[in-house]
Symmetry: C2
Subunit: 245 residues, 2 copies
């Protein structure tokens, strides 16, 4: 059966996470419904990284099989027509071999976490960034963040419901960029634990506010205990931007 690989984008604000749930708007649910509406086939869509409610994606990757082989470009346009009233859209479609798996073939994921550091509530960026009112020292965050780069047991930044077999992950990149009052955290790894990015940024914001220093962050990491890590940042600022194969 022909296998289709898609790159999809979504505004997570009105999506209650990725996974299909009855009578609930989810990324998987919208996409499987659009596929059925387009060609009548009922399929299961597999994604590279399941995102939580409120988390956005500009580069989520999915795959599914259809009995019929369609022109990839036509699949994209047809799905987008059926997705028109949803917060999800298809950026790219291609036919891939049967050995391709959106999740298991992935060798890297990249996320961006977006903070707006200001006192006034967000309007245009509401639900699209985390508003942090206390002034942040981005240089201190960048410096402390390097403690997390490399291979570590990330238990202190792992959600209790995480299903990963091991808490040991290799973080390839953790880098801050600031432009006016907008602060972006860029991070990449082969894979992440559940809530790892949100727990890391939640903790690094404590460093940026001066409540913690590098030593506290190192102690938190070494404790391998979620209760020693900082708070979980809101989903609003998180974007899955790229999956590598």
């Amino acid at each position: 059966m022909p296998r289709y690989k898609l790159i999809v984008e979504y505004d997570g604000t009105h999506i209650f996470g990725w996974q299909r749930q009855v009578d609930t708007p989810t990324g998987q649910g919208f996409l499987e419904k659009a596929i059925e509406d387009f060609c009548g086939e009922v399929v299961t869509v597999h994604c590279a990284g399941r995102t939580d409610a409120g988390v956005h994606a500009t580069g989520q990757v999915v795959h599914f099989d259809l009995v019929k082989e369609w022109d990839a470009f036509r699949v994209m346009d047809a799905l987008n027509a059926h997705l028109r009233f949803t917060p999800l859209s298809v950026l790219h479609t291609e036919l891939v071999g049967e050995d391709f798996h959106a999740r298991f073939s992935a060798v890297g994921r990249r996320y961006v976490y977006r903070i707006i550091n200001r006192r006034a509530p967000l309007t245009i960026d509401a639900n699209r960034a985390w508003q942090v009112t206390a002034p942040l020292n981005v240089a201190a965050m960048q410096d402390a963040a390097q403690i997390l780069v490399g291979t570590h047991d990330f238990s202190s930044f792992r959600a209790s419901e995480c299903q990963s077999k091991s808490p040991v992950k290799t973080l390839d990149e953790l880098r801050f960029e600031s432009n006016g009052n907008e602060i972006l955290m860029h991070t990449a790894a082969r894979s992440f634990l559940h809530h790892q990015v949100r727990n890391m940024i939640g903790t690094l914001v404590m460093v940026g506010q001066g409540k913690w220093d590098k030593t506290n962050l190192k102690e938190a990491l070494d404790a391998k205990n979620r209760s020693k890590g900082g708070p979980t940042a809101p989903p609003d600022g998180l974007y899955l931007t790229h999956v590598y194969y």
Copy 2:
């Protein structure tokens, strides 16, 4: 009476323009209600540039008078508390002299118009940019745009309901910037005619699509007739970003 100058930001998506209307969400309406809720005073708020429904602002300037003199910073926080469930927020507040007028003291306005040039419908940027599906030649748009810079009769880019005394305006800047599939048009002038920015970008997109060239644009400008200009671009991509005094 103490006069207050505010810089305000709003997501124009759910605001039916700036001007107060009965039972309709407008920028002026939200702000006057918040002021009354905060201090009990019923005032008229004057703005630098009345924006249409759907147009955004990151740097709209307004002024109003109150009988009581408050600390400017306290006014900002109090108003933002009362504006919490609106798409409008106060970025800055200061006390100014009685000779300051948000509209009449302004010596310049700056707008940004944002285009996303791609085939897939917008999700995260829905209502926040104009999606143009046909590929655009940004260099051609930048080149042609220079015809509009300077002092001209802009009748071909003027809404029929425009209340300006003269159609002659001096355009100080019209510059394109592109980053991936995002195209930004930066423009500045002492003042603009009604719909001028949206009509200019609507016409320049025809140049970007190769439907028009520089000569067509020059002929449209010289015609001094709205029917010879290009279409009006949607409000979604327009942002009032700065007012100069």
